[in-house]
Chain length 330, copies 2
């Protein structure tokens, strides 16, 4: 365990890097802001970064606009298989679940893996068996299903590779935000508490029409998520296979270890990912000195951050709005 | 795809970092040497690094002395669940399978994921469904079972955490090889061919008495394996959860990107892992300049490497024997 120290608490969340169209923009922005406030409230209640990260991600999982928990997309078999992870930056312990079914809040199950097992990752049936054992009961798949997810699968025409390529790749074209089109709504949160403890979490239903059993970067520490008190934390979203190829989360952490700030590390890593894979995505990053960074190479990524009782948020381009926290919060 | 260039071909394999006892030392050493020769022969036949890495790992999977494929250990439910990955350093494409059952050569299935899907990782039932679809048929679990695996589960007394801690941790003691005791036999191979193409692969049955659904570092690129023509390749073994915590494979690659050679990068990364997690393990590493490195913080790791028609090998301490390739090979 790393020695903790006094620092400025920060809660930052994202609602997924996505397409070049502004479909349901307001609902996504509101969902991200709400989740940041939920995380902040929990942080005020318990003072614990892990509690806050879990609460923020649960809020995003419960909002059917996002592709995580309720609202997860359907795979090619018409089923929902979800992935989530949570990491404790004080100990480097983490818990992840992948390809888990019929669970309302996969991030809460991931936390149980972290706290109640000697493992970091449980997948498939084993993860569902563990859920029952620790009292997280399965729910009918219909309760996780949104109209939007059904529509997305229906709209899924043609070859999966072409569609995902259209969403997250920009082969042979000049790199601009507008070249990365499509939809994706993986969610995540990174928190540092007043003791300097970092927590990070990511949760997703994956990509519409993915193969049964497909797992992307999201539940894998060093790929879709990482948290370390010594450096900071990160949660990723975007084209999972591209993120995996360049081990995006660990890359950002190691860029920060080498001296870059959160924003510069995020930009450098996403540029590197684009150069090596032509894949697009987004990240939220914070360091242990009170700084945060947001960057995405997709058209949009809903994000929100609370620091010093101010709510920062944005959803496209270089948007960075700042407002006072709602009265009942400040 | 990175431009390829002429280079010195190398095949390097490991048969798993393991305990402080020399049980079946000769069989492990022979198995590793044989696998390196199998990989080298394949490289001579096809000139392709991926073919060679797959062939070497299949040889290790087929040898019941190792905990991968045939000879995989049993989980707490008495079943075999296997993980494997293969990565193509020319494209950064990879394929992995996790928690897959009844498959003779998981690394071959992993290669099918890489070459026949848009994904990098399939787990559980979905991975087995895919296997059937591509003509890799399931086999009875008994055919994968070794007497040794049954004995290991029987010998598994007491708390899993204590046992694995005894095997791979050395809390509050001075770091020496002898403090990391236990058994583990994850296998792997890293190859660079004459065109400068790097391939890396790892395969495992995991840790005896692991929970159903548990996945460690092995099938996850950036954690248990990585290959990149720009830098080199690595395959890891040891305490999976510790390897995950410090994203060992990507750490080694980034140390090499920063200028370290394979041996120095391996030592620095395993020292870091020990310092942060008290976990032990081993790695084989090569760069794209004709150098290889071997390092382990466990008592033993069977490894073998062929370069310039010479077979280098070792199994404990700083052993590094060199012999001419067998007559029918050179």
């Amino acid at each position: 365990m790393q020695e903790s120290r006094s620092t400025t608490p920060i809660v930052i969340v994202h609602g997924g890097a996505w397409s070049g169209i502004s479909f349901q923009r307001d609902a996504r922005a509101d969902g991200a802001k709400h989740a940041a406030i939920v995380g902040w409230k929990r942080l005020e209640e318990t003072g614990n970064a892990i509690d806050a990260a879990e609460a923020a991600v649960c809020s995003l999982e419960d909002d059917p606009i996002f592709d995580a928990g309720t609202g997860s997309v359907l795979n090619s078999s018409g089923h929902i298989e979800m992935d989530a992870v949570i990491m404790d930056g004080a100990t480097l312990n983490s818990g992840g679940v992948a390809c888990v079914r019929n669970i309302k809040n996969p991030v809460t199950l991931a936390r149980k893996v972290m706290e109640n097992t000697h493992h970091c990752l449980l997948v498939g049936e084993g993860a569902n068996q563990f859920a029952e054992k620790v009292g997280i009961h399965t729910i009918p798949e219909e309760q996780l299903l949104s109209e939007l997810s059904v529509t997305k699968l229906k709209l899924c025409e043609g070859n999966y590779g072409d569609r995902v390529g259209h969403a997250f790749k920009a082969k042979n074209v000049k790199k601009t935000h507008e070249h990365a089109k499509g939809e994706h709504d993986t969610v995540g949160a990174v928190v540092i508490d007043a003791h300097g403890n970092v927590a990070a979490a990511t949760s997703t239903g994956g990509i519409t029409a993915k193969m049964a059993g497909r797992v992307g970067d999201s539940p894998l520490i060093g790929l879709g998520c990482y948290g370390d008190n010594v450096t900071g934390g990160v949660s990723c979203t975007g084209h999972g296979e591209s993120i995996m190829k360049v081990h995006l989360a660990s890359r950002i952490i190691m860029y920060m270890d080498a001296g870059l700030g959160p924003k510069d590390a995020a930009e450098k890593a996403l540029d590197y990912m684009y150069d090596r894979t032509e894949g697009a995505g987004g990240v939220i990053v914070l360091d242990n000195k009170g700084n945060f960074g947001v960057h995405y190479t997709t058209g949009y990524m809903a994000w929100a951050c609370i620091r010093d009782n101010k709510l920062h948020h944005g959803i496209s381009g270089h948007e960075n709005h700042t407002e006072e926290l709602p009265q009942n919060m400040a």
